[in-house]
């Protein structure tokens, strides 16, 4: 019984934890701009994150070695360091975007300029990392994030022609006003939003934090195979809502506040209140995950003690990195950068950087020294290898596309 509760809780957390500011922005933006022509990318992305997270979770559980530990061990110190710098920088962009997202969500309730709320939001994020135990933190924000189910209710309430929606999603094409380049660029953005590397840093470090054992591998699978697809349903609902409400009105999404418009349209005040809670929880949860990931990556590369299962004075360098990252992200957010632009760049670069962390995990998941008899099965390896190819193609294409489309303009 206790086990069932734990599994359910894990799944719920995974649903809430799947969506962050990247998904909120990317799905609303592409829905308003491309209709359902990019819906397939969400499906490809969620299968990718399932494969990646399941492997990373299994490796961390069996060997007790999280992602960046293995990155250095398999890629060597020099290439590992380049990898660390790239991953840390992208994670930092995401952290900035999430903190700004928390501030914006608060500003939509408090009617204060979000810039004034950024230091407060950042302090809150740090305080939770400093004081709240790992599991309670994860459950609290995962469950609050379930408020985003309201976007699914939004779509149901609008009552679209479901057959027509499926037909559109199943027959994607480049809309007449777009070029193949912008189409590809936004496909990468959506993919990066669904398959963000920090999710895996966090997930694999979390497996060590929560002291998972072999018997928890079921929990790992349940979280990943049930939680993430349900999270993807929320992403698709955001896209459909934008396609139904915003696209016919020629509204393009360039503010986080516009993400709530379809829900306001369909469900009124109750919907609005719920979606704002959901946006707050999703960005806050992701700010915690990226804040911790800043510390995880550096500490694991250098072999320092890390984690929330330790007292802060038992992992001081880890906490110092977390603290400094949050502080610098706060300053960057306050400098007047456009949070939506920062989000877009963070998800696109996330997609480009994926092979750097995916590849070592795929290799270690096949190493009997680490994994014993828990190495990848034939099917996991087949899919895992296909995704490796996909990720490499994306990584190569991203920067040229970014330049050609001027950042998707």
């Amino acid at each position: 019984m206790k086990r069932a509760v734990q599994v359910t809780l894990g799944i719920l957390t995974a649903i809430g934890g799947f969506v962050d500011i990247g998904d909120l922005v990317a799905n609303s933006e592409t829905g308003a701009r491309f209709g359902l022509n990019l819906a397939w990318v969400v499906v490809v992305g969620v299968i990718g994150i399932i494969v990646f997270a399941e492997m990373a979770g299994r490796v961390a559980t069996v060997s007790r070695r999280p992602v960046f530990d293995l990155v250095r061990e398999r890629l060597g110190p020099a290439f590992g360091l380049a990898n660390l710098i790239a991953s840390f920088f992208i994670n930092f962009l995401t952290l900035t975007a999430e903190i700004a997202g928390v501030a914006i969500a608060l500003s939509l309730v408090a009617s204060v300029d979000y810039l004034l709320l950024i230091p407060f939001a950042a302090f809150l994020v740090w305080l939770v990392i400093w004081r709240l135990p790992f599991q309670r933190m994860e459950q609290l924000f995962g469950l609050l994030g379930l408020a985003l189910i309201v976007v699914l209710v939004t779509v149901v309430k609008i009552g679209p022609d479901w057959n027509d929606l499926f037909r559109q999603a199943a027959h994607p094409h480049v809309p007449s006003q777009e070029t193949p380049f912008t189409y590809a660029y936004f496909a990468i953005a959506l993919f990066g939003a669904a398959m963000t590397p920090y999710e895996v840093f966090f997930f694999s470090s979390g497996a060590v934090e929560e002291k998972w054992t072999l018997s928890d591998l079921t929990l790992n699978r349940a979280n990943v195979f049930v939680g993430f697809p349900l999270g993807a349903v929320l992403s698709l609902s955001l896209m459909v809502g934008a396609a139904l409400v915003l696209q016919p009105r020629n509204i393009s999404v360039d503010q986080l506040s516009q993400v709530g418009l379809p829900t306001v349209f369909a469900l009124g005040k109750v919907g609005l209140a719920t979606v704002l809670v959901g946006i707050f929880a999703a960005t806050f949860g992701a700010a915690l995950e990226t804040g911790l990931s800043a510390g995880y990556t550096v500490a694991q590369y250098l072999g320092w003690p890390w984690g929330k299962h330790l007292r802060p004075d038992q992992a001081p360098r880890f906490h110092l990195v977390v603290l400094l990252s949050i502080a610098v992200a706060t300053l960057f957010g306050l400098s007047g950068v456009d949070p939506v632009k920062v989000t877009e760049y963070s998800i696109v670069l996330s997609a480009a950087a994926l092979p750097l962390t995916y590849f070592p995990i795929l290799v270690i998941a096949n190493d009997t020294d680490y994994m014993g008899d828990k190495t990848n099965g034939r099917w996991v390896n087949a899919i895992g290898f296909i995704y490796l190819v996909v990720l490499v193609v994306i990584a190569v294409a991203t920067i040229p596309l970014m330049i050609i489309t001027k950042g998707g303009a």
Binding site: P77, G80, L302, G303, W304, D313, P316, Y370
Partner: protein, 129 residues
């Protein structure tokens, strides 16, 4: 126990060092080699760990920079730590050390950070609750 073989680069370098109490105390940043019993053969005599060792391994120039930084920081910079081979308990996905790891560079740096930053923040000595 049967004679065990290791590829030093693959099996030892860059592995996590774990103290007897389970705490993480650094990485194997390099290995020290010496002639075995004065003969022609080389033996591994110690594991080396610390930022200076790592930087030195990546290039002499970086090693110089880190050494300068370490001189400036004093003990906080972390001296290169030499762990005699006899202290190694097991070699696997991590390397387990016998008791007595307090004098390693990693814990020393943690101590410095505690004394100057983290220890001054309220709640640093309490487990999250």
């Amino acid at each position: 126990m049967a004679e065990r073989q290791y590829y030093l680069g693959l099996d030892l370098l860059d592995r996590q060092l774990v103290a007897d109490d389970g705490s993480l105390v650094g990485k194997v940043d390099d290995l020290e080699l010496e002639r075995c019993d004065g003969g022609d053969e080389l033996c591994v005599t110690a594991l080396l760990s610390g930022p200076g060792v790592l930087a030195q391994r990546m290039g002499r120039r970086y090693g110089g920079w880190v050494q300068q930084a370490q001189r400036a920081l004093g003990r906080a910079g972390g001296d290169p730590t030499r762990i005699p081979l006899a202290r190694v308990v097991s070699i696997g996905s991590h390397i387990e050390l016998a008791p007595g790891s307090d004098e390693l560079a990693g814990p020393a740096m943690d101590h410095w950070v505690n004394e100057h930053v983290i220890g001054h923040i309220p709640g640093s000595r309490h487990a999250p609750e």
